[in-house]
Symmetry: C2
Subunit: 145 residues, 2 copies
DNA sequence: GGTATTTATATTGTGTACAATTTAATTGTA
DNA sequence: TACAATTAAATTGTACACAATATAAATACC
């Protein structure tokens, strides 16, 4: 009885625990660079599309301004990016990487592979997992996906 | 180039985003009960195995004492459980649900199903996702799995 | 039996997450 | 063109997570 309340039968719990486990695999690799996982994904987003409003980062990272604003301010202080109010729309703040921010890319190139090597999934399993996660993530309800 | 640094090619990112999305589906259902997601999984663990040391909860939930100690103290204050030093080993603190904590189970019975209905995966897909997540989670490196 | 080591929690400090609210700018509309 | 509604960020407040350290009890070992 109560099978639906068994920890092992939840989908939410392994997701929650697994996400934290993977993040913890990255943490020691970021430490020498003085980065955190959240800062890393902000960089990943910006290395792909730079000079974008805060709202663009919010959408792509599924994070809100309450999380990103202080993070971006800190990254600005550390010289990785600039925050500039848009001339066309004064409500908008544009984020642009500095040379230092762009250069950081070279230093993290092989980190995804190192973490990947710690995860014992076959390429097929990793692909399946990736596909299923995006299927859940891109459902219409939340974040206007 | 730089395919390995594209946000979309990471496994960590959809995991991280998906975990937060699922948690956010639970939050409004917990609100009338005054619960948080983390408290919920502590209850799930205790409804299965009650009267256990803090270390047992740490292992089952993949959380450390820095997270659980303040959480358990708060849940104790709210009358959901008791924290008692073991007589046999004074280092150990045993956690036991009160009647109030046990009774809460009735009020959350259908929440997993409601959340499940929000996730557009077939039973087979959900099973596959569950299996792959546990495969990653139960690898030997971390948490003594 | 006394001391070093290990173990179980607790504490401290830092960094997210996010709900709710605020502020300021822009847009829609009578 | 005033004025309401909307939008983009920022702010405030609460709740985790977790690394690092501290504390105290138990065990190991000489």
């Amino acid at each position: 009885m109560d099978e639906q309340l068994r920890l092992e039968n939840q989908l939410c719990f392994p997701l929650y625990a697994c996400a934290r486990k993977i993040t913890s695999l990255y943490t020691p690799m970021f430490k020498p660079l003085g980065l955190t996982y959240t800062q890393y994904i902000v960089f990943l987003a910006l290395w792909e599309h730079d000079n974008v409003p805060v709202s663009d980062l919010c959408h792509r990272l599924y994070l809100d301004s309450g999380t990103l604003t202080p993070l971006l301010k800190k990254m600005e202080q550390e010289g990785y990016l600039t925050r500039t109010r848009s001339k066309e729309d004064e409500r908008v703040v544009n984020i642009r990487l500095t040379e230092k921010g762009i250069a950081l890319k070279d230093q993290v190139q092989d980190i995804p592979m190192q973490v990947g090597n710690c995860i014992r999934l076959s390429p097929e399993e990793a692909f399946t997992l990736h596909t299923l996660l995006y299927k859940v993530l891109e459902q219409e309800e939340a974040y206007g996906g």
